[in-house]
Symmetry: C2
Subunit: 341 residues, 2 copies
């Protein structure tokens, strides 16, 4: 097996009726395995391929915000999008699905991009100025719209890993975008709710949470920030547009600054309250290029990774959360209110 690069594949888990990505290419990522090596995710004095000046150590850029008179793949940018060098997916992989004996697998067709949020190594997203956060969100939205234009893609997942316990392998602040030719059915509850009630689950939740207030952290003209009723993660929070929008691509430039302000307030209060935790940020949004029932409503989930999932969660799939969302919301709401900024 040594030295042989095996193409990644998506294998059907017959027991759980789910899929697992067997991303054998990624085994070469030195900081990824085993866990102790993840210590390298902490700030290191060593070399960083995402820092300004090291542009030639990433694959050629897909998009960058830099003055138009400057050459690409060089210095002078503020946000930069490049293919993930350790992608589990490839655009050159033909889209194949096959069954051998009783097992089914499909090829690892897809794309995997990295959005480097800043040329400087130590600029965490939550400490950036509002306008900068808005420009990162704008780049994410623009990449989303661009990728959605390719009909081979049915699903686009934007996410961010921050810190050792959130799966980050590089400390230089960045987001990632994975685009796939199939749709995970994580939201089957929301889809069923919409079918049965002819209403959007998220719209109904937003109405209820604004009225009840106990899980409400922040409300602005166009967004609400809440702890969900059944959070999988401790201090899990959601930012949702109040008006029904299926699709992250519908985010209007005029509302981008307002969203950035809500996001910054939330992240700063999480980092402050929870002693600088690892966290994931994910953008949930409707599938693209595929007929789908109503029931989607895009939103941002921020999930601190304070607790390692144990054997009971591995076995049952039920998450255990020692802090109620009412308590978490109260803590974060107070922290935001008490800030001068």
């Amino acid at each position: 097996l040594e030295g042989v690069l095996i193409l990644s594949e998506i294998r059907k888990d017959l027991v759980r009726d789910n899929w697992v990505v067997i991303a054998t290419d990624r085994a070469v990522k030195p900081s990824n395995l085993p866990v102790p090596a993840l210590g390298s995710a902490k700030k290191a004095a060593g070399f960083c391929p995402f820092c300004e000046g090291n542009e030639k150590f990433t694959p050629p850029e897909i998009l960058a915000l830099r003055p138009s008179d400057l050459p690409s793949n060089d210095t002078g940018w503020s946000v930069r999008v490049v293919p993930n060098k350790f992608s589990a997916y490839g655009m050159d992989t033909p889209l194949i699905r096959e069954s051998v004996d009783m097992y089914t697998r499909q090829s690892g067709f897809g794309s995997h991009e990295v959005v480097i949020e800043s040329p400087e190594h130590d600029q965490e997203l939550h400490f950036q100025p509002l306008e900068k956060i808005a420009s990162v969100i704008g780049v994410l939205r623009d990449r989303y719209l661009q990728i959605a234009g390719d009909e081979r893609f049915k699903f686009i997942q934007i996410y961010k890993n921050r810190g050792l316990f959130a799966g980050a392998s590089l400390s230089h602040s960045h987001c990632q975008i994975i685009s796939l030719p199939y749709v995970p059915d994580q939201f089957k509850g929301a889809v069923n709710y919409a079918s049965e009630n002819s209403r959007c689950l998220f719209c109904d939740m937003i109405e209820l949470e604004i009225r009840k207030k106990e899980r409400l952290i922040l409300e602005t003209d166009n967004f609400v920030v809440v702890c969900p009723y059944a959070p999988r993660f401790t201090y899990e929070t959601w930012i949702l547009p109040k008006n029904h929008q299926e699709n992250f691509g519908e985010l209007d430039d005029s509302k981008s600054l307002e969203l950035s302000q809500a996001l910054k307030k939330l992240l700063v209060s999480i980092v402050d309250t929870l002693d600088d935790p690892s966290y994931n940020l994910v953008v949930h949004t409707a599938p693209v290029n595929v007929p789908h029932v109503p029931g989607y409503h895009w939103f941002i989930e921020v999930s601190p990774r304070l607790i390692v999932q144990s054997g009971v969660e591995v076995a049952t799939g039920y998450f255990m959360n020692p802090i109620s969302p009412e308590w978490a919301a109260e803590t974060l709401r107070k922290n935001i209110l008490n800030r001068k900024d």
Copy 2:
């Protein structure tokens, strides 16, 4: 909220059509939150409530292997079962399910036991003599049968957390047993397979894996040790009884030593190959006291926790695994073959 102990509850996640345990009582467990405090899971010179001589620091024992002339809740035991002091569940909690507004929750009725595998602090399960491993397995099986005799319970989850990245909060080697009045539907694929094919998915997999050999690690008279085709975790392995048995309680004393030998070989080779990793061990078994379709077949899963699940897994529910099970099986198979013991 300070000082108020809120009963734990199981809340319906409407978006994912799943349940989350909001175990607010557990917030008091000092080593549980936040993650950095989990460092205390490593061997510490400090006080350990599971060590011989400290019996009064646990709730009164449920069962213990000790000479019959010695008093209970005192020294002289080899395996000891006690209620979990930081249980998310209570037997005194009435079994209630209620809907408020659009949300549904049920009370945290259930039991949570700890099986302390040894009176000595540093005896890891995989280093114990065979006969001792067999006696731990015997105690787990006996507790399983005892709990299954209580008709209020429909589901019994035996599991073990070993190490920081597997969710362990105490280093003294132990297993846990959670018993619940409802059945998680993690195995819906296996259940559907059995309905559609009138055959057991696991029996078919065992037949195939023995024939194909590429994911087979070890075969004994009554058990197979394999890496599954679609493993969620890197180096995930399963030990299955070759003959169809739904229920862990069916494990015969005459086969307990053979199972212990397979388990010990597997664990030693995992610990050796993967540089002493964190791991979870879970016993998957059929529901009890409830009519259920065929499709279950008990087995032990051992899942090393080498990689932290990142944002894309949090969002999509698809696990990413950088090592193919064929490679993992070859590595473990060779390690077992090369051992003298």
